[in-house]
């Protein structure tokens, strides 16, 4: 059955799809969004039950392969040391993210000019600045103005979330080393706002926020977008984007909530389906005009996959800190963010400080570290860890390499029989050097803070949160998939709006920037198309 054509069809209701939907709703265009998952129900989130730690390993597990829900497509990531984490549903990854909300730095957009590596972005920090601010307001970002790791003008609309004892402990250590630190910008409401209650320090942000204080887009952008007339259809899994003889997108073939195959016609198609889902859908959309996948004349669809490799430096302290209570992140340090070639690598990383763990994670981690034995000493050893563990995470810049890529697995499929993605990824020498540097500096900080025991890991395996670069933006069609405003070089009515179009990854979490970029692209679409 063919549905009436819509002006704009957005695929994916996550961080960027929601922002684009809300922004485009300023026009008179008919806008429809397909989401393959459902609308999250905060009353079912793990923190509503005493069994929250076990619960988060089931339907709220970070890995789609572990969750295995009908809306989750499997991912063959056997050939990658970093495994993909995501959430398929309205809100996308923001439902399970830590809400850390740093922006990229001005230098991130000029890596070729400043460091002689890769390509400069076709947009810059100043261009995105008004969209950063607009997004901060919509996502309700808390933080503290005046961070000298950024240009003046970054002023989070909400007061900073509590740093907690662990944040203070590490802040003192950064001061002792003479290194930068700052309270984290967080998409967490610290005051009642927009019908949402302020944060009450539940902790466990990455299991979904039952309080509704965390800015996931199902409760920030989407209520506003729906009120402005955007239509959102859940449980709709898109199989392919169709094109006409002129190579223009005509719509999508999808499976509805009953599994029935349908066609939806659209004048413009916007993809907001993450760095794995986007190349998967493009590569599954083959036709006479595009035998190697849609929008792939450059051959770059799926290539240049970047994660943010993470290292962890965890310390055990003698005095009680926070435990798991409070926002997941407290402070960050960008002392080693900008390139300093004397370190032996280009680009850099941020340190993010996280609070402690719940009892189950603490016991299992203690067992893994050999600090919590079986039998007689279990209880005394456990008490030695209770509320006494805190963590530094280094989020490292990963430069693009074409051999790091997403392809289609020849046999693995999802519940609708659509071919699933396969990832091939190796850490570059530069990334390894960044990770090693971060661990060495992290140990210094933990020692300065007085940690009596330190454990490190690199790269963290289940930390493929940020899936970047697989449909990069640029001005040259031979070297990029989309233009400086997200439009496919090959298919003039096809747009890609999220982190997949990042040229480089930066050393900071992505959500703030990918949403600002999505708002910028929506603004450009309104200026160029809607009028």
């Amino acid at each position: 059955m063919t549905q009436d054509p819509v002006d704009v069809l957005i695929i994916g209701a996550g961080a960027s799809g929601a922002a684009v939907a809300w922004s485009l709703a300023d026009t008179r265009m008919r806008i429809l969004c397909f989401e393959q998952g459902g609308m999250p129900d905060q009353q079912t989130f793990p923190t509503t039950g005493r069994n929250w730690e076990a619960w988060r390993t089931g339907d709220f597990a970070l890995s789609p392969n572990q969750r295995g829900l009908p809306e989750d497509y499997p991912i063959n990531d056997d050939a990658s040391p970093i495994k993909v984490t995501n959430f398929n549903g309205v809100g996308g990854g923001t439902v399970l993210y830590g809400a850390h909300f740093p922006r990229l730095h001005p230098s991130d957009f000029k890596v070729r000019t400043l460091d002689g590596v890769e390509d400069d972005w076709p947009v810059d920090y100043q261009t995105l600045a008004p969209f950063f601010a607009e997004n901060d307001r919509m996502m309700c970002v808390s933080g503290l103005a005046g961070d000298q790791a950024y240009p003046a003008g970054k002023a989070p609309p909400m007061p900073a979330a509590p740093m907690g004892r662990s944040g203070r402990k590490l802040a003192e250590a950064f001061n002792a080393r003479g290194w930068h630190w700052w309270p984290c910008d967080l998409a967490i409401a610290t005051e009642d706002y927009d019908g949402r209650a302020k944060c009450n320090n539940l902790g466990a942000c990455i299991s979904g926020c039952a309080q509704g204080a965390k800015g996931s887009v199902d409760i920030t952008y989407w209520p506003h977008a729906l009120r402005k007339g955007v239509e959102l259809r859940t449980q709709c899994c898109v199989r392919e984007i169709t094109v006409d003889d002129q190579g223009m997108a005509t719509g999508v073939i999808y499976y509805d909530e009953t599994g029935k195959e349908e066609f939806q016609a659209a004048h413009e198609v916007v993809m907001a389906t993450n760095g794995i889902g986007t190349p998967r859908l493009l590569l599954n959309s083959t036709s006479k005009q595009f035998p190697n996948g849609l929008a792939n004349s450059s051959g770059l669809v799926g290539k240049n996959l970047m994660f943010h490799p993470y290292a962890s430096i965890q310390g055990v302290f003698t005095e009680p800190l926070d435990g798991h209570n409070g926002p997941h992140k407290s402070i960050l340090s960008q002392q080693f963010y900008e390139t300093d070639t004397s370190r032996g690598f280009v680009r850099g990383y941020s340190f993010e400080i996280s609070r402690g763990m719940g009892p189950v994670a603490k016991a299992l981690t203690g067992m893994k570290w050999g600090l919590v034995p079986w039998r007689a000493d279990h209880h005394s050893a456990f008490c030695g860890l209770q509320d006494r563990v805190t963590s530094l995470y280094a989020i490292c810049e990963d430069l693009p390499e074409e051999h790091n890529r997403v392809t289609l697995d020849p046999s693995l499929t999802d519940s609708n029989g659509i071919l699933a993605p396969r990832i091939e990824y190796t850490l570059s020498g530069n990334s390894k050097q960044i990770l090693a540097h971060a661990i060495a500096r992290g140990i210094e900080v933990m020692e300065a803070a007085g940690a009596k025991h330190i454990e490190t890991a690199s790269p963290i395996e289940l930390a493929g949160w940020h899936l970047l670069g697989t449909a990069r933006m640029g001005t040259e069609p031979a070297r990029s998939v989309v233009s400086e405003w997200g439009r496919s070089h090959d298919v003039r009515n096809l747009f890609i709006v999220d982190g997949r179009i990042f040229v480089t990854s930066s050393g900071a979490s992505q959500t703030s920037t990918l949403q600002a970029l999505a708002l910028y692209i929506a603004y450009q679409m309104k200026q160029r198309l809607a009028n």
Binding site: T47, T48, G49, R50, N51, W52, E53, A54, T57, P106, S107, F109, K110, T113, L114, Y125, L144, G146, Q148, A149, P151, P162, G164, R168, A171, E172, N175, G178, H180, W181, W182, P183, C199, N200, N201, L202, G203, A210, Q211, N325, G326, Q334, Y337, E338, T339, G358, P359, V360, A363, L364, M367, W374, R375, A376, H378, H379, S380, F382, C383, Q386
Partner: protein, 141 residues
């Protein structure tokens, strides 16, 4: 002690699990903590772990008719790494949701939501040295 619940473990397997979980977390008078072989916790382990029966069965069979002491438990741990990790995770998940175990740790026996927790206010005087160092970002052309 044989738990009477809907699970798929045989009597022999229940006996083996009981013996092993007692090795993982032992009862403690000093810490006023139950052991993981406490009947309520054990029932939780057997019920919650029912789906693991197929993956644990071969390992558990090696313990039948054996007195599981520290030495036997050590051999078991060394011989069945994957199975032991599964059993250890299951045991810890069930143990640290038992109200008595949680209370003994002075943790409130309640879900995190809706009451949440209080955090101390921020002290931004700590930022003075950071302010004094000035800008650290690179200006882009």
């Amino acid at each position: 002690m044989s738990a009477q619940h809907s699970h798929s473990f045989s009597d022999d397997e229940q006996t083996s699990i009981t013996a092993i979980v007692a090795q993982i977390i032992i009862a403690s008078m000093e810490f006023t903590q139950p052991g993981a072989d406490d009947s309520e916790i054990l029932n939780d382990i057997l019920t919650s772990g029912a789906a693991l029966q197929g993956r644990l069965g071969r390992a558990l069979a090696t313990l039948v008719d054996k007195a599981v002491d520290v030495g036997q438990a050590t051999i078991f741990r060394q011989s069945f790494l994957v199975e032991v990790e599964l059993l250890q995770t299951l045991t810890v998940q069930c143990y640290y949701r038992d109200a008595r175990a949680i209370q003994a740790l002075s943790i409130d026996v309640r879900p995190l939501f809706p009451h949440g927790y209080i955090q101390e206010p921020n002290d931004f005087s700590l930022l003075e040295p950071v302010h004094m160092r000035g800008e650290i970002y690179r200006k882009a052309p």
